[in-house]
């Protein structure tokens, strides 16, 4: 008996000791990762954490690294491909060891960037050359850089849409619904595919933000207003999603959808439309080739809303690459980020929008250019506040849960009324906004 007591005591003491030690780290502040003047002098071995497991496995990353070594012969690049990137890196960031270069996980608060990452320079200076600097800028300093950007939009099968007699892009949600109905009645294709089970495709709908009003301050309005209010952008988006589902224009059983399968299905014309992003086009084209369908059938159109007759599409950065504040080789890490953004051709390889301001638009977006779609970059000054409100309200605008519920209500699997549901979201959002110090 006595033995047991002492043992429990020791355990407790050990446990308390251990719990006391956590939550430290990352106390150093304000380091810089400056670009080197002479590539030949930069040396060191760096580890790059990446979510692109696919291109690490097929050797594409290795090729980039080999190319990189032609300019920077003394830098050794190692890749650490992580499948469940967000969750795993979040845990690793409690230590000092999270690679030299990493993609900034969504969980890190924007204002905490200086605690985790070395600065890449001032926004004033970098924004002359690069897009998206606003998204990682804290107090005028930039902490991350995305190698590419993408615009959200509907991927659609041109052949099916033409068969249904719709050749012009719909300009209002109502026209869009009419087009989907025509597809349903005139073709065998599923008019719209939700990818409900894969979950994240539903969260892509949040990217509509900014496309409805064509306002670069759309993110600020998320932070300061009600996104589901009368003219809230997310209300327009969610209402359209609801109508699509409610009018039976989706696949028969959304709960067992399959993302990988949806690619060849859209290419072959079994699916007519899906809301994704320009980054997806290349994946669908590759799937089309594999399935023996015509890759040119895959088209891309903006959200059906027009301001003064003009469509807008937001351009958003992909994961931002940053240099760890604990990196021993910050120069080498910075060299990798610069080279990867400027010279690697990664953005072109992915048919994406280059981070370099003067680079031409990818061929995928040619129709956008022809039809005069305006590409806008949202001001992200309030991005951090939006994230905080989102967490506090537990709405999850970038999580799938509430849209899954919306789809369930729309198809009658759950009781509820769409207006009440969206109003409730708005109520939770605005209440949380009050508690979050902005």
């Amino acid at each position: 008996m006595n033995h047991r007591k002492t043992l429990t005591g020791t355990l407790l003491a050990a446990a308390l000791l251990a719990s006391g030690c956590t939550g430290g780290g990352g106390s150093s502040k304000g380091a810089d990762a400056e670009a080197a003047d002479d590539p030949a002098q930069v040396s060191g071995s760096i580890t790059v954490l990446t979510h692109r497991t696919d291109i690490v496995q097929d050797g594409t990353m290795k090729k980039y690294a080999d190319d990189f070594n032609k300019t920077y012969p003394k830098v050794k690049v190692k890749f650490d491909a992580i499948t469940d990137y967000e969750a795993e890196v979040k845990i690793r960031m409690n230590t000092d060891n999270y690679g030299d270069v990493l993609m900034i996980p969504a969980v890190i608060k924007k204002n905490d960037y200086p605690k985790f990452f070395a600065s890449l320079g001032t926004q004033k200076e970098l924004s002359e050359k690069y897009r998206f600097t606003d998204f990682t800028a804290v107090d005028g300093k930039v902490y991350g850089q995305s190698p590419m950007g993408a615009a959200p939009g509907f991927l659609y099968n041109k052949r099916i849409w033409a068969e249904a007699g719709v050749t012009d892009w719909p300009t209002t949600p109502a026209e869009f619904l009419t087009a989907l109905k025509a597809i349903k009645s005139k073709t065998d294709a599923v008019p719209y595919y939700t990818n409900f089970a894969a979950q994240w495709p539903l969260s892509q709908w949040t990217a509509v933000n900014g496309s409805v009003s064509c306002d670069t301050e759309a993110t600020t309005r998320l932070a300061e207003g009600n996104p589901w209010g009368e003219d809230g952008e997310l209300r327009v988006a969610d209402q359209l999603l609801y109508d699509i589902v409610h009018q039976g224009l989706i696949e028969k059983d959304p709960t067992t959808t399959n993302w990988e399968n949806s690619k060849p299905q859209l290419a072959k014309g079994e699916i007519a439309t899906a809301w994704l992003g320009s980054w997806a086009v290349i994946q669908f084209r590759q799937a089309a080739e594999k399935a023996g369908a015509d890759p040119d059938d895959i088209g891309f159109m903006p959200f059906p809303a027009r301001v003064d007759g003009k469509a807008c599409a937001t351009v958003n950065p992909d994961y931002n690459q940053a240099v760890s504040i604990h990196s021993q080789h910050k120069e080498a890490a910075r060299a990798w980020i610069d080279w990867f953004t400027d010279k690697s051709g990664y953005a072109q390889d992915n048919l994406s929008i280059s981070t370099l301001k003067d680079a031409p638009l990818p061929e995928v977006l040619k129709p956008y250019e022809e039809q005069g779609v305006e590409l806008i970059e949202l001001d992200d000054a309030k991005g951090g506040t939006v994230k905080e409100i989102d967490n506090a309200s537990e709405v999850g605008i970038n999580a799938p849960a509430y849209r899954q519920e919306l789809v369930d209500i729309a198809r009658g699997a759950k009781d509820g009324d769409v207006d009440d549901f969206l109003d409730d979201l708005g109520r939770r959002w605005t209440e949380a906004a009050k508690t979050v110090g902005s």
Binding site: L11, L12, A14, A15, L16, A18, S19, G20, T22, G23, G24, G25, G26, S27, E86, A87, K90, M93, N94, P105, V107, I108, K109, D112, K115, F196, A197, Q199, E251, K252, D253, P254, T255, T256, N258, D390, N391, E394, G396, A399, P400, A401, Q404, E405, D408, R411, A413, K414
Partner: protein, 323 residues
């Protein structure tokens, strides 16, 4: 559902296997010298050192950490965390919607009843001499060995529109046209079914082990007395495995309250299949409220402890005495 970590002791075995009178009494040894005594006292601890180290590192330290976090507003990554006292607990208990998800557990509770009855049935049948009984044992236990993630994916195909289940039903002339995961009831029933499929093997093996430790003479004697199979089950097997049975029930109930991987992988908690643990995971990893989520986990732990304690009070663990 039930996640057993321990194999239950079977009191029945000892009695049957070791007739006490037969063993010769060892001679009383002389008192060993001090060094030897010390060594002897230390030996069990040496053997225990590795498991204890693992247990402490991977169970008690994380639990202590979790307790500590539950009193803070930590977001899971920020270097700053503030002590907020019992705020998290107050929040949990003032938000009744957080407990609504326990209704989902009812589906799994019902499923565990089915699971235990089925496992008991198969264990009883397969404990008698039967052709291919080892093959059947293997088949029944096999699902428990498969990784839960794999099971989730397999069953997603299984329940797909026109998937395995629909094709099998079509073979029997039943053209099914339903979305198995489509509505709240059918989704939960389907998921609970997967759970039964997966964990029945474990219950089955526990029961089988207990049943086989019942001495064979008892059956022979019973048969001579004219007892049929049902009588043998009712008066020999059922009382003989009572401790294992009650353990299984406890595991099933705590398992039902903390269901996680199957619904998380298959539906992610959509369509009314969200359980308490999924909700906790969402709080911690989607909304970065690690402090609140830790408090929720502590509450779940306390609920499970309370339920188990209640069960032990209601059904005390009697010693089994068959002979």
């Amino acid at each position: 559902m039930p996640q057993a970590r321990t194999t239950p002791p079977s009191h029945a075995t000892e009695k049957a296997a070791r007739p006490r009178a037969a063993a010769p009494r060892p001679p009383t040894p002389r008192r060993a010298p001090r060094g030897v005594r010390l060594w002897r006292g230390l030996t069990p601890w040496l053997f225990l050192a590795v498991p204890l180290a693992l247990l402490i590192t991977f169970t008690y330290v994380p639990v202590a950490n979790m307790l500590a976090y539950s009193f803070t507003d930590w977001d899971g990554v920020s270097p700053e965390l503030n002590y907020t006292g019992t705020d998290n607990y107050v929040e949990i208990f003032t938000r009744p919607e957080l407990f609504r998800v326990f209704f989902v557990s009812a589906y799994y509770l019902a499923a565990s009843a089915v699971q235990i009855v089925a496992a008991l049935y198969f264990a009883t049948v397969l404990s008698f001499n039967l052709r291919f009984r080892n093959v059947f044992k293997g088949i029944l236990f096999f699902p428990y060995l498969i990784n839960g993630v794999a099971i989730g994916f397999v069953f997603l195909y299984f329940f797909q529109d026109g998937g395995t289940l629909d094709s099998v039903l079509a073979l029997f002339g039943h053209e099914s046209d339903r979305a198995w995961l489509g509505t709240e009831t059918s989704a939960n029933v389907s998921l609970a079914g997967v759970s039964v499929w997966r964990y029945m093997g474990l219950n089955f093996v526990l029961f089988l082990g207990a049943i086989q430790s019942i001495p064979g003479e008892l059956y022979e004697a019973a048969e001579l007395d004219g007892a049929n199979r049902w009588h043998q089950f009712r008066y020999i097997i059922a009382p003989g495995i009572r401790p294992v049975l009650s353990l299984s029930v406890i595991l099933s109930i705590s398992g039902s309250l903390s269901v996680f991987e199957i619904p998380y992988i298959m539906t992610g908690g959509a369509t009314g299949t969200e359980t308490f643990v999924i909700q906790t995971v969402k709080l911690a990893f989607q909304f970065n409220k690690t402090g609140l989520a830790s408090a929720a986990a502590v509450v779940l732990l306390l609920i499970i402890l309370a339920v188990t304690w209640l069960q032990r009070r209601l059904v005390p663990d009697d010693r089994v005495d068959l002979v």
